[in-house]
Amino acid sequence: MIKKKKIPEATIPTASMADISFLLLLFFLVSTVMDVDTGLGLTLPEIVEDQIEVKIPPDRMANVLVNENGDVLIDGNVIPVFQIKDMLKSRIASKNNLPKSKKMIVSLKTDRKTIYNVYISALDQIKLAYFEVRNEFSNGKYGKKFNDLNGEQQADVKEVVPIIISIAEPESVKK
């Protein structure tokens, strides 16, 4: 009778498994970029063929004009960029109790030669004004900041303080 050869035990050495996965882990650790994109969000208006002019009462509208030198004009007053927020806050807050169709509209208009940086700081100020009004309102009603509210409450605050920013086209774009 032929003696059967003893089959050696077939095992995969797993001792180095941890090392290999460590290497892979290190690679992905190094190559991961964690930073989140941050910025000012905005929704552009759709292009409509025939535009209808709607008259908006002047107390509902705040015109923010930024010229090419970086001067800011709000409803006829020249002010520095960082004061836009304080100018707008009280006006936005005063419209909290009014119906939806009477909320504040902030219109931001620039010149074609305006520096982008100034435009961003103006837009930033306007958004800050809205955010602070939202925070104050939610503090008064729920005792929490806007960001800590749940979805339903946030929707409620958004209803009371909607962010309506109109980006007007610079003068020379219009025909």
Binding site: L25, T32, V33, I120
Partner: protein
């Protein structure tokens, strides 16, 4: 009389059997969050700063437009001209309807140029935009 030192005869070993599993879990996490596609940015730009910023929830929805100091524009991996934006962005909008266009514009650019880009985006129905900014402290 000699004192016999009493030694604890418990084994002092950390069980390492589950180590690969733990490492693998970490590995899986990093593999899923890593986005491999790093675009070479060909234009030179410096972002403006702002305070009232918001985070973009999903990176997969974002499509970038870079504008450099020398007014060159880049979409994806190539430099583009103003007339080409509409076509490129319309295709993006078709393949990804919820696309958010992130404008990474140099802070010294003039608004006329930015407005032109916005007009092109409006024609391509890419209406959700985001002015990319750094956080002002």
């Amino acid at each position: 009389m000699q004192f016999v030192k009493k030694r604890a005869n418990t084994k002092t070993e950390i069980p390492t059997a589950s180590m690969p599993d733990i490492i693998f879990m970490l590995l899986m996490f990093f593999m899923t969050v890593t986005t491999m596609r790093e675009v070479d940015v060909l234009v030179d730009f410096k972002l403006p700063e702002a305070k009232a910023i918001e985070k973009i929830e999903s990176k997969r929805l974002v499509s970038y437009i870079w504008v450099g100091k020398d007014k060159r524009m880049q979409i994806n991996d190539s430099l583009v001209k103003m007339e080409e934006i509409e076509n490129i962005m319309f295709k993006k909008k078709e393949s990804l309807p919820e696309v958010i266009v992130s404008l990474r514009v140099d802070q010294g650019s003039d608004m006329g140029f930015v407005t032109d880009i916005q007009q092109e985006l409006r024609k391509a129905y890419c209406l959700r935009i985001n002015y990319s900014t750094n956080v002002k402290i």
